[in-house]
Symmetry: C2
Subunit: 429 residues, 2 copies
């Protein structure tokens, strides 16, 4: 751990595992620990209702309330919720003072089936024209069953703006619950999903390819339930997109959508990288599900396909950091690249590269499958730090346009211990 | 060219460039040469009608008639055609003697729009329950405008059966014509597409991602116009599937669909490879658009992503040959593999591997963009033969379960010259 600096006071925070990305946490909720057991195969006879621990009282009361970032620059949100009894209203009332909802936005409602599962009524409401850095109160549902929450919009794009954000991982996925977030809400997180704006990145569990049930449309459940502001970044698909918040340009890629040359995701990323303006957003961050550098036996080299296509772009555009999940163990790379490898000649293995990003793989906050405890031996040259641990989470602190501090914390018997910490130097400034 | 044998008499034939795969050519039409100019960007104001040279006479006469293999083992076909004036009938009348159409099958008709283009009425009719190795006559359309053709069904699955098949490449693709096959038909091939059963493999031009026109659904045109028997091989998507014909098990992969671990294509291929029975079908052939081994500057290493995922399976299952197109130049590899490469240690480059397939890239039969004439220098160790040439095609001759002869022919001033020829030893027998 040469060159590592330990810091005690943190005022900007990352929380990263692998699935859900909360991009604005004023009231950061670090250290999420899930008690869910991952199930690769669905238990089709357990209705959703039995598993939701925190269903609110009242006829048709909004549940599973969550807010998603709604545009490119932080002046919109998408408010989503589910009603169980009837469609009800998709209206959001909102305003800047409590109990005085001066504005109204109209949303949409849908439902769908997946094999024998029938979804509730899923509402999405796009609320735009918001002011930056402002607290908004909002109300959904109707009558006695209505519910009120609030959120704070992010600051304006500013190269020196401070900004908090976090990422929560695939805590577990089962057929009927259909989303990590629902698990998160079940474990007591419902309140925070309704108060913070999130962005989403889909993983393998969200593919939901179940031909033996006749369900073969990838991401069918996920796409119904999780909205993203993809259109604001000229993406054609909710699975890949970008947002700019405060001093960061954040790009979300889809590991399980087509990404090779000529595909829509490739065409879009090529254009999106050109739109990055490091004068305005010094920090360029990429998120994906499958890690590109990971020396754990679990999912080893599953990221090679995407590495072969995008690594040279990451180096060319001097991406600061690439976050991934998928593997249930923490790992941080040095700044290395393998872009000179080719099947004919050239460098054979990753070599130090000052323009390369740091790759950080964060184990999820939930159950472990055992395998992720087995790292390849010896530790590869590209691997700077790695540890298999339960309930890990990450905290980071962007100080200004040139420096950020990054901590990985082991969640050990309920105590959070920083076990990897380093200074991230901005790749542009 | 050590170990190459030249043969003069051929009774089984491959014709391969890169897009269209004709899997049963009793009357093989070798040496297709296109005169079309490839257009990367659509010329939206040229209506389809102006470009079709061979529209049949008569009100609503069936045009663009083509037959697709219709099941797993060769007892069904899908007959497709377009009518321009009105939907008309989707019925196919057929039988084993001329002018006596004793059976009838009912098809479907659809049309669609793509930006300002409005398609004709597209008919697909699945005809099943056919006898093997039998000539069938069929009739489509109605009244004076009806048209009659015939086809011959393939022989039963048999490890020593003889079988002719060919592949025709992406001769050129423009927005309105929407398919290579239409170009092929325009250049005089219409008759042969109506008399032979084909299978299709989509390339980058078929993605048709055109966000500036609001068209962002990949393969939208292609999927409307080209049917495949994907369901017969338990595939969930027309873009990847398999058929068994005579002594060959033929697997078609989609280079531009998701293919990494956990995706539907990956899940399907894993199962399909287990279904291969080399006792019944000694020859295992894989088709894809993007070559995995190709030392041309054009599209160099674009196949790395798929190599990283599937190469170890190709070796494990002893695939005989992998055909690809995409690059406009012929190239043949030795039996090599790079499966021991990893980002930490191991072999650095492809090494001889007796279990590996031969990789054959066949340049298309049409226009050249110049670049494909530039091979990397020096020639990589894995490359056995390569030549950039116009109008190339391939012929092959499976002799029995143990041997096949393979010829690549340069089309030079109208003369076909075999310039690469070798004996393909079956990987199983």
């Amino acid at each position: 751990m040469a060159g590592v600096t330990r810091m005690e006071s943190m005022w900007l925070q990352f929380i990263l595992t692998c699935f859900v990305f909360s991009s604005y946490l004023r009231n950061g909720n670090a250290g999420i620990t899930s008690t869910f057991i991952r199930s690769e195969y669905p238990s089709v006879d357990i209705p959703l209702e039995n598993k939701v621990l925190a269903v609110p009282k009242g006829h048709n009361a909004p549940q599973q309330v969550h807010i998603t970032q709604g545009d490119y620059d932080g002046r919109a949100v998408i408010i989503s919720w589910v009603t169980a009894d009837e469609p009800g209203t998709s209206k959001v009332q909102y305003g800047t003072s409590e109990k005085n909802f001066e504005f109204t936005a109209e949303g949409t409602v849908t439902n769908y089936t997946f094999y024998e599962y029938k979804s509730g009524y899923i509402h999405h409401c796009h609320v735009d024209g918001l002011e930056h850095d402002t607290k908004y109160y909002y109300k959904i549902g109707s009558g006695d069953s209505s519910r009120e929450f609030w959120f704070i919009t992010p600051p304006k794009i500013n190269p020196d703006a401070s900004y908090k954000f976090g990422i929560i991982g695939d805590l577990g996925q089962t057929f009927n619950s259909l989303s990590t977030l629902e698990h998160y809400m079940q474990s007591g997180g419902q309140a925070s999903t309704a108060y913070q704006s999130w962005i989403w990145s889909a993983g393998n569990h969200e593919i939901d390819y179940m031909p033996y049930m006749g369900e073969v449309t990838p991401f069918k459940n996920y796409l119904q339930r999780y909205a993203t502001p993809y259109y604001a970044s000229k993406s054609s698909n909710p699975l890949w997109y970008a947002i700019r918040r405060a001093s960061a340009h954040i790009i979300v890629l889809s590991s399980y959508s087509p990404f090779v040359k000529y595909t829509p995701q490739w065409m879009w990323l090529q254009e999106e990288l050109k739109r990055v303006d490091r004068e305005k957003t010094p920090w360029l961050i990429v998120l994906m599900h499958v890690p590109i550098y990971n020396s754990n036996e679990a999912h080893y080299m599953e990221g090679e396909s995407m590495r072969a296509v995008y690594e040279s772009w990451f180096v060319h555009y001097k991406v600061d950091v690439v976050f991934a999940g998928h593997v249930h163990a923490y790992e941080r790379s040095y700044r290395i690249s393998n872009i000179h490898y080719n099947v004919t000649s050239g460098e054979q293995y990753p070599i130090p590269d000052k323009s390369a990003p740091v790759y950080i793989t964060v184990g999820d906050g939930g159950n472990q499958e055992g395998l992720a405890g087995r790292f390849r031996d010896p530790q590869p040259d590209y691997s700077a730090f790695r540890e298999a641990s339960y309930g890990a989470f990450d905290t980071g602190e962007i100080q200004n346009r040139t420096h950020a501090l990054y901590h990985w914390n082991r969640n050990d018997d309920g105590k959070k211990m920083a076990t990897d910490a380093f200074v991230l130097h901005n790749q542009y400034w």
